[in-house]
Chain length 62, copies 2
């Protein structure tokens, strides 16, 4: 569903690197990438900025 994993890999980042750029744990990134739960807006914003991306690109669904 969300495209975090895809964009993280395009940036050549590991889960750990993205987690520390976003200020969360790797576990949180794993769960979000695998759609195991429902991140908060604040976290979506941090991830989007860490990937030089935006909310619609990573999380919008039609």
């Amino acid at each position: 569903m969300n495209k975090v994993k895809k964009y993280r890999k395009e940036k050549g980042l590991s889960q750990m690197e993205l987690a520390s750029k976003a200020g969360v744990t790797r576990q949180t990134i794993t769960l979000i990438e695998n759609n195991k739960y429902n991140p908060s807006l604040a976290l979506c914003l941090k991830i989007a900025k860490a990937l030089d991306s935006d909310l619609n690109t990573l999380f919008w669904e039609e």
Copy 2:
């Protein structure tokens, strides 16, 4: 910060109407509009769709 109140009013909806379109309580809408807490992604998506809008328009911040 977020622009939910602004876009809700442009659509001529009350908090109650938006809440029921989005499937949450009015209290939740009130708190989000007043930046009292941090909605989940699933809720942001429901609100965006209920307002015929999108995540970046309502929630992105530079």
